[in-house]
């Protein structure tokens, strides 16, 4: 159907987007790659020199990297676990007939629209603060010692905050998927005497597999880059207790002015993200065919 003429027009219409994204992807990334092989400190301009793999060696052998990698994995894994399990439970609950379902949906989805700096600071001050926070007030009312969450369990606290932000996303997507479940199949299983647990394991869960995969992959992309929540609550501390890779690269480059080391870290982060991205792209590509 498409004529040669319309094809040329189509190409013209696509090219601005393609050119812009190509430049956006290739120019800064090749600069990062180039910097990562330089000894380059912002405090000593004009002293740049080639150092080969040194920056990578220092970045990867720094104990902070091992800590940051562990923290990144714990953060991503912890939030995924909470949001998937919680989201599935919540979606199953919200899928039941009830009064005021629309309003409950609105309440549940709300945290997703809160900007990261707001939700982190609200949790840090109004809830987790060991003197004036609500948890401290409750602890004292029960005769217990208030717990300083961000000082003694910084990573767990950040996991909690981030999970609160992402639980709505998982719930909403799983709920959307649940609503496309074949009701007749469910009723047939019920009449054949399948227990609620069996129905969940053999009908609901397989139906949700695709949605869960999508949630896992998309959240992973965003969770690898968690930054604002750490910046405004703990600054990565105490020590490196709540530093993730993103924060480590930021600290190395813009707090220590070490462009070379920061760039090497940036490239490491890109490689890690790509491993995840490959799975995600395959997944979405398959759905495109379907």
């Amino acid at each position: 159907m498409a004529t040669q003429h319309s094809k040329t027009a189509a190409r013209l219409m696509i090219s601005p987007a393609v050119i812009l994204l190509f430049l956006w992807m290739i120019v800064p990334l090749s600069m990062t790659l180039y910097f990562s092989f330089l000894r380059y400190n912002l405090l000593m301009p004009g002293m740049e020199s080639f150092t080969g793999w040194d920056n990578y060696y220092y970045f990867l052998t720094d104990p902070a990297f091992a800590a940051a990698l562990t923290n990144t994995l714990l953060l991503v894994g912890g939030v995924l676990l909470i949001t998937i399990v919680g989201g599935t439970a919540l979606a199953l609950l919200l899928d039941q007939p009830m009064w005021g379902q629309g309003i409950v949906r609105i309440l549940v989805i709300a945290p997703f629209f809160i900007m990261p700096t707001v939700s982190a600071l609200v949790w840090k001050n109004m809830f987790m603060n060991p003197v004036n926070g609500m948890f401290a007030h409750i602890a004292r009312a029960l005769g217990m010692q208030p717990f300083d969450f961000l000082a003694h369990a910084p990573l767990a606290s950040i996991i909690g905050i981030v999970a609160w932000q992402w639980l709505p996303f998982a719930t909403l997507i799983l709920l959307t998927a649940l609503q496309s479940l074949d009701r007749e199949q469910m009723e047939a299983a019920e009449m054949d005497g399948a227990s609620p647990v069996a129905r969940f394991v053999y009908i609901t869960l397989p139906h949700l597999t695709r949605a869960i995969t999508v949630v896992v992959l998309i959240q992973t992309i965003f969770l690898l880059g968690v930054f604002a929540e750490i910046l405004v609550t703990t600054n990565g501390g105490p020590g490196t207790a709540s530093t993730n890779i993103t924060y480590l690269v930021y600290a190395q480059s813009l707090l220590n002015y070490d462009v070379g080391g920061g760039s090497a870290g940036g490239i490491v982060a890109v490689i890690l993200a790509n491993i995840v991205a490959i799975f995600l792209m395959r997944m979405i590509g398959k759905n495109l065919d379907a």
Binding site: I14, A17, P28, T32, Q96, M98, G266, M281
Partner: protein
């Protein structure tokens, strides 16, 4: 009998769901409540806090002391600006790919998506240095450029999935009935495309409004949007709970309302059409 069981079940489900919904929403509600208290009352125990007098003082202070409205305008300009620029680039591209698909259309789409997977820290330094040398640090223009580029893949994808659903046969039928190209675009295509474009706009404004990596890295004061403004409360002086709450309430209210309108599109937009 079964009807009574159903009613009881509905009641239990309703109670459970409302409780969970309330708990999840509670931090937001609490923030709004604290914003109407004085600083001294804001740090009291929950019950005493609730019982204390209500006041608008914090809202006034946030505006007069830190020029809230300027940061609000920065957020509006940056999120709306980047969305409109992205739409201007994306609408032709998505249109062409949906209606004149070539052999490589799918590859192009997948490649565009892959640019979204690049972690921001991977390009932090070059972008920071480029912005410094070009004088774009702490400018709205700079942020509009960056946010346009990071959201462009999502915008193109969302529009593509919407345009894809407009059946080509309708256009052909209109043509057969003697519709001119002008009336075809005006009366048939536009009405079908506008809802998709509107929800893309909505979702993208939300994403840009809440973006908190580049807005924190590339601005300090002049062009600082609300994300950066709120972050300045991470190391405050003196009592600040009420002011923080007032600033937060004003920062999240507009987007919360927009967000509630865009629930359905959210699923579609953020899963790139994989879950509908």
């Amino acid at each position: 009998m079964s009807r009574r069981i159903t009613a009881r079940r509905t009641l239990i489900v309703t109670l459970a769901a409302w409780t969970v919904g309330f708990l999840i929403f509670f931090p937001i509600l609490w923030t709004v409540l604290i914003s109407f208290k004085s600083e001294g009352d804001a740090i009291k125990a929950p019950f005493a806090m609730l019982m204390s007098d209500w006041t608008f003082a914090s809202y006034e202070q946030v505006q007069t002391r830190s020029n809230y409205s300027r940061h609000f305008m920065n957020s509006v300009v940056i999120s709306l600006g980047s969305t409109l620029v992205a739409l201007a680039i994306a609408i032709p591209a998505a249109w062409a790919m949906a209606f004149v698909p070539g052999k490589r259309t799918k590859d192009v789409l997948m490649w565009m998506l892959s640019t979204k997977m690049m972690p921001a820290v991977g390009v932090l330094i070059p972008l920071y240095l480029l912005f410094r040398d070009l004088g774009l640090l702490d400018t709205r223009t700079g942020l509009v450029i960056v946010l346009t580029l990071i959201n462009l893949p999502i915008v193109i994808w969302m529009l593509y999935t919407y345009f894809k659903e407009i059946p080509g046969e309708i256009l052909e039928a209109a043509r057969m009935d003697g519709a001119t190209l002008r009336s075809e675009i005006l009366y048939i295509l536009t009405p079908m495309a506008v809802p998709g474009i509107a929800s893309t706009l909505l979702l993208n404004v939300i994403l840009a409004w809440n973006e908190a990596f580049w807005t924190l890295q590339l601005t300090t004061s002049r062009a600082a949007p609300l994300t950066q403004f709120i972050a300045s409360y991470s190391s405050p002086e003196g009592l600040f709970y009420a002011k923080l709450s007032a600033a937060s309430t004003m920062a999240i209210a507009p987007i919360l309302i927009l967000g509630w309108f865009s629930q359905k599109q959210l699923v579609r937009g953020l899963t790139f059409g994989a879950v509908k």
